[in-house]
């Protein structure tokens, strides 16, 4: 596998009719975050740590249904809690490993913005994806992703 870096970024925006402080808490409290920040269905999580403060670290490993093991290793860089009227944010950098191989180094910013009736969440991630796609089934994977996305767009 040749050494390479592929750069990419994306933004996801969500609107929820929930208070910004509740959205923030869902990131800030370990038991709340465990309710939604998990791998795909069938993924068994282990080796968890959670230290939500600037400079603090969060790690999570998961064994997927197909046997592959991914680990998420994150350091929180900037944490500002929102108020009812002012936006908050969480910025962290993280490294992902797949079966022991480092596959990406990313930075993500989560903005939690109060808006009428609730919260706007803006997640922007920039990633350096390392050394190509280490998976012989990558084309199949791409198709599956495309179909999943297509399916979701049809449902919505």
């Amino acid at each position: 596998m040749p050494r390479s870096i592929t750069h990419g970024s994306f933004t996801i925006i969500r609107h929820w009719n929930h208070a910004p402080t509740r959205v923030f808490d869902a990131f800030a409290k370990q038991d709340a975050k465990a309710k939604w920040f998990a791998g795909p269905p069938g993924c068994q999580l282990y080796d968890k740590s959670f230290d939500f403060r600037e400079g603090g670290r969060e790690t999570l490993s998961g064994k997927h249904a197909d046997g592959k093991v991914t680990t998420f290793d994150c350091v929180y860089r900037d944490i500002v809690a929102p108020t009812a009227t002012e936006a908050g944010r969480i910025i962290y950098s993280y490294v992902m490993h797949l079966n022991g191989t480092k596959i990406s180094v990313s930075q993500a910013a989560v903005e939690i913005v109060p808006e009428t009736g609730g919260t706007k969440l803006v997640l922007t991630e920039y990633g350096d994806y390392l050394d190509g796609y280490d998976d012989a089934g990558s084309r199949e994977h791409g198709t599956n992703w495309l179909m999943d996305t297509l399916g979701k767009s049809l449902e919505g």
């Binding site: 991630e125 994806y129 198709t143």
Partner: protein, 111 residues
């Protein structure tokens, strides 16, 4: 560049007839007439849709004798697009779960 090819792919998929063709092709290669048959349109109209899919890079076709056979081509999703797509999808799913969690745990006094 990264998002341009993806934009073309999604624009091509914005039409129900073209989605039906892609869904058929995911199951395996098919001839133009096989693709057109279940659709409520003429063969020339179906061929125009096929042309859009080919231009998006999602579908390739090859003519053998008088029969043109089409197949899905996932290479349109470059390595970077696959990466970004998968990471994005992971986040979309997580945020779906977060939204559901917030709904379930909403305190009553916030109506």
């Amino acid at each position: 560049m990264l998002n341009y090819q993806l934009d073309k792919a999604f624009a091509a998929l914005a039409d129900p007839a073209r989605r039906a063709m892609v869904e058929r092709l995911v199951q395996g290669p098919a001839t133009v007439s096989e693709l057109a048959k279940p659709l409520p349109m003429s063969l020339p109209a179906a061929m125009l849709h096929l042309k859009v899919l080919e231009e998006s890079g999602l579908v390739t076709s090859r003519k053998l004798g008088r029969v043109r056979t089409c197949r899905i081509d996932a290479r349109v999703l470059s390595q970077a697009e696959q990466w970004v797509g998968e990471r994005r999808q992971m986040w979309e799913r997580s945020l779906d779960r977060l939204g559901a969690y917030l709904d379930q745990t909403k305190p009553e006094d916030q109506g």
